[in-house]
Amino acid sequence: MSRRVAVVGMGVVAPGAIGTKEFWSLISEGRTATRTITFFDPSRFRSRVAAEIDFDPVASGLTQQEIRRMDRAAQLAVVAARDAIAEAELAFAGADPTRTGVTIGTAVGATMGLEEEYRVVSDDGRLYLVDHEYTMPHLYSYLVPSSFASEVAWACGAEGPAVVVSTGCTSGLDAVAHACDLIREGSADIMIAGATDAPISPITLACFDAIKATTARNDDPAHASRPFDRTRDGFVLGEGAAIFVLEELQRARKRGARVYAEIAGFGSRCNAFHMTGLRPDGAEMAAAITAALTEARLNPQDIDYVNAHGSGTKQNDRHETAAFKASLGHHAYQVPVSSIKSMIGHSLGAIGSVEIAACLLAIGNNVVPPTANLENADPECDLDYVPRVAREQRVDTVLSVGSGFGGFQSAMVLRAADGETA
């Protein structure tokens, strides 16, 4: 009997929504959490909009020492992990800690901490030979993203395989897929898996400004993230974390656990084309989708909802639309497709996991979240993108896709676990 993977716990920290309930309210109501940047003065930047979290680490339960030794991205991950672990508490009762592992995705790790600490040791860029006497004591583990996996492992006492997966903006899908592999191959029975990123920092804005990847719609921040809209002009940078408890399906069933869904299939490919650019045909993303469907033993017609990457760049939304047509055929024109980045921005490596959370909640609630701000049809994007208003319908099987710098293309299929949905 082959081993299968169930999601039995979930924690989400997203812009405008700390906690799973708030997250679902936000995205199912089509509200947006994008605004003019408040973390620092953005006036010198081309793009001045972001989806920020009003995150108070103390209110979220972190201790002073945890706050000191963790970058914001690690803090978001630990808060989300604790929620997920609390929800799946019974999975851990009597579990062997050596059979519990951790995979955390992140694209840019401790970017905020990196920049803040660099400013101190270099005295705002004055010193090339930066001053080691001004470093914080935990700087090494603070800056290396592997510490995110350590912190999450410590949150639940995991002693099985632990690793960070960092494949740019597909990290959030790839980290969960990696955890599924470890459960299926028998290396673990429970995995704490998900992703985090907190990139809203001047250096990130500056480099995305340089390639004009982010929106310049600074006078209308609430409507700046416009996936699939003809007037879209780039993505809105976001931050966030979503962490799940994954459990081998039979084990979960045996203890009568609430199962959000089964992770039924996954596929990934590289475009081998350009570090930031995409070919319009979407061929490699299409190949990843087909591989995910094959692993799930499903046909395109079985998909009830497609959670798009939908970043809102000209290039991405065209690329992705072509990939859906190439992989799903005629069904691409019938299945609802939406992008929650329209509401919570693009949190780089985290977003794949945050979007998995959206998919699990769509399955649980039988509601497809909308694409906010989609007002002007684009002839190159001619699918059903669920504009502005959520749609009530049966949702059993969901496809979620991601596309990342470096050429990474990933696709995951989630499926209601035989009538045992939450």
Binding site: G125, L139, S187
Partner: protein, 417 residues
């Protein structure tokens, strides 16, 4: 029966040898690449030695258009990948692109590139930041650049678990081969020898303060007081054994026979560290008994508490002094995500030549229950080698490598679906 994947190409870029033969000759001769830092003025810092890849001129190895968009460590990685593919005799277009992938390890990204762009941002202004900063420093960059340079479009990946990542990447490459890929470019090449990377590493408290290259990195020695950081690593070509046979691969260095990874208990828990379990798990995965192992390539932290944990885990599995243990990284320094795949390269070459490279400069301290190979390389039959890698923060990974052509039982870890 499942035939484990085989390594058919090696590209080493090491402080004591740019190129696989150069590196192997150096470690067998006991030649160290540890020297005073030359890439910046380290005289004002408490640690002043590093293992830098000497004589590496990027322009000689890479097209000029790649230079502005790559960190030093990515240039080394691209060079290592070129060497490995050439060694494996892979011709462009020989195999379907979707059957080929890239899985690398990273620890800290392109720190030097990042420092330069942070400096521009804060000393000159955000409009001076390079467009390449959007990817040149991040952890996925080596996989992405290798994939683009060689047109590999299959399932790929990037793993980060500090120094353990070099083995985790190879294990992930093995998973992709089991799932149907024909060939994966894998391993790690790393390095952050720049002032900003230096102070971050100094803060770990694990760098040696010695100015003497022969006394700065002394694992399992009573004088052990930290490590010397280095740059470089190795890229390996891992292939399905059948695919390698079909294309008449020029070399089959050995099989990736077993792997396991564990995480240490939370500090202060009083529970046993995870390394012994990782060694046992990797042996079980390979279907290898501890008596069958000919040599262990140690992680060799050179922090007394960590050396004790490692020596005790090795002794618990193999018996006190039960297996020769070596640490050629005493000649390169610790290369972070690059270290473990370079050790795998050394282990494969040890199998090829029946020669175990030594640990240099170390006078093994009493109290470590292991036998360390010092002095000259040991000539002895090598059929099975174990490589240990540990990452800062609690990561333990272990890989078992075996001479090619050895039949093995199907392991329980095959992906079943």
């Amino acid at each position: 029966m499942i035939s484990p994947p085989v390594v058919t190409g090696i590209g080493a870029v090491a402080p004591n040898g740019l190129g696989t033969a150069e590196y192997w000759d150096a470690i067998c001769a006991g030649t160290s690449g540890i020297r005073p830092v030359s890439r910046f003025d380290a005289s004002g810092y408490p640690s002043k030695l590093a293992g830098e890849v000497a004589g590496f001129v990027a322009e000689q190895h890479l097209p000029s258009r790649l230079l502005p968009q790559t960190d030093h460590m990515t240039r080394l990685a691209l060079t290592a990948a070129d060497l490995a593919l050439a060694d494996a005799g892979v011709q462009a277009g020989e195999l379907p692109p979707l059957d080929l992938g890239v899985v690398t390890a990273s620890s800290a990204g392109g720190f030097e590139f990042g420092q330069r762009e942070l400096e521009r941002n804060w000393s000159r202004g955000n409009e001076y930041v390079s467009a390449y900063q959007s990817f040149a420093w991040f952890y996925a960059v080596n996989t992405g650049q290798i994939s683009i340079r060689h047109g590999f479009k299959g399932p790929s990946g990037v793993l980060v678990s500090d120094q353990a990542g070099g083995l985790d990447a190879i294990a992930q490459a093995r998973r992709q081969l089991r799932r149907g890929s024909a060939m994966i470019v894998t391993g790690g090449v790393d390095g952050s020898i720049c002032p900003w990377g230096w102070v971050a590493q100094l803060a770990s408290g694990r760098l040696s303060a010695s100015d003497d290259p022969t006394a700065a990195y002394l694992p399992f020695d009573a004088r052990a007081a930290g490590h010397v950081p280095g740059e470089g690593g190795a890229i390996l070509i891992l292939e399905d054994a059948e695919a390698a046979r079909e294309r008449h691969a020029a070399h089959v260095y050995g099989q990736i026979a077993g792997y396991a990874a564990t995480f240490d208990p939370k500090p202060g828990s009083g529970r046993e560290p995870g390394l012994r379990r990782a060694i046992e798990g990797a042996l079980a995965d390979a279907g290898v008994a501890s008596d069958d192992v000919d040599v262990v390539f140690a992680d060799a932290a050179a922090i007394p508490a960590l050396d004790h944990i490692e020596a005790e885990a090795i002794a618990a599995v193999f018996g006190a002094g039960g297996v020769p243990v070596t640490a050629p990284k005493t000649m390169t320094g610790r290369l972070y995500a690059g270290a473990a795949s370079l050790d795998v390269a050394a282990a494969l070459l040890a199998i090829r030549d029946d020669l175990v490279p030594p640990t240099v400069n170390v006078r093994p301290a009493r109290g470590y229950p292991i036998e360390i190979v010092t002095g000259s390389p040991h000539r002895m039959p090598v059929r099975v080698a174990v490589v240990i890698a540990r990452g800062h923060g609690g990561f333990n990974s272990v890989l078992v490598i075996r001479a090619a052509g050895t039949a093995v039982e199907a392991t329980s870890k095959a992906i079943e679906n």
